[in-house]
């Protein structure tokens, strides 16, 4: 059995991870939400029919959005596509979030 010291360290690590997720940018959080919606649907539809409301947000088709869907990955890159709004988001490097393997 792990000692108390190890358990405390593990718990602190978990807290630190949660705090980092809390402090993430709004862009990162919305991107994570899109991932969560797709992951939820992928899992749930193997078990039951989806409810009418259980649809991922249809925001990725917008050309002006700087998001690229590539298979099971979603990229963000502010340089992609024309920006027609007064967006203040300028990400210098693309960030890749990969869905965990089932």
């Amino acid at each position: 059995m792990p000692g108390n010291e190890i358990l405390i360290r593990l718990r602190l690590g978990k807290d630190a991870l949660r705090e980092a997720r809390r402090r993430a940018t709004l862009e990162a959080k919305f991107l994570e939400l899109l991932q969560a919606q797709r992951l939820f649907i992928a899992i749930v539809q193997t078990r039951r029919s989806l409810l009418p409301s259980e649809q991922p947000w249809d925001v990725l088709r917008e050309v002006r959005d700087s998001v690229i869907v590539d298979g099971d990955s979603i990229y963000t890159n502010a340089e992609v596509g024309p920006v027609t709004s007064s967006s203040s988001s300028h990400w210098s490097a693309p960030e890749k979030l990969k869905l965990p393997s089932p």
Partner: protein, 163 residues
């Protein structure tokens, strides 16, 4: 992505400018997202103070406005730039206070009203909204460093709420 959310904010501000609603504040899981980790959701809950007076609540002007702007409607939601938005008239005094006391934050440089975490918790603990999912959300949000614990305690006392 955030441009779509900014479109939602513009639409909400337009509702105020046209005098259809007096004020609004984003609540639910999206409201919490401004203060906490991400929780999965499929819509944006927006609590509104309607401009109309009287006991009868009429959402007709909102749906008419949505139709005029070409926003599709389905399952009590209005879809704005791909995001389903549910406009909920404040159901009680707590919700009205939550809207009035909402924080003004920023999305893509636009001012957006968001329900403060203490009020989100109070609303999730208040029957009949206090189902298991919402109580779990309330519990998670209560660990947020941005939470004003004194304010939350005062709210719970004021509205006779408990964990």
């Amino acid at each position: 992505m955030l441009q779509s959310m900014a479109d939602v904010v513009r639409a909400l501000n337009d509702l105020i400018e046209r005098g259809i609603i007096k004020d609004y504040a984003i609540g639910g899981a999206i409201g919490a997202l401004f203060w906490d980790e991400v929780t999965n959701t499929f819509d944006v809950d927006v609590f509104v103070l309607l401009a109309q007076d009287g006991a009868v609540i009429d959402l007709g002007p909102i749906y008419k406005w949505a139709e005029e702007h070409g926003y599709p409607q389905s399952h009590e939601h209005i879809k704005i730039s791909g995001i389903p938005v549910q406009l909920v008239p404040a159901p009680d005094i707590l919700s009205e206070e939550a809207i009035r006391e909402a924080a003004t934050l920023s999305v893509e440089g636009l001012a957006v009203r968001v329900i403060r975490p203490e009020y989100l918790i109070a609303m999730w603990l208040k029957p009949p909204a206090n189902n298991k999912t919402r109580r779990e959300r309330a519990s998670r949000l209560s660990e947020s460093a941005q939470l004003d614990k004194d304010r939350l305690a005062a709210l719970l006392t004021k509205y006779d709420l408990s964990w």
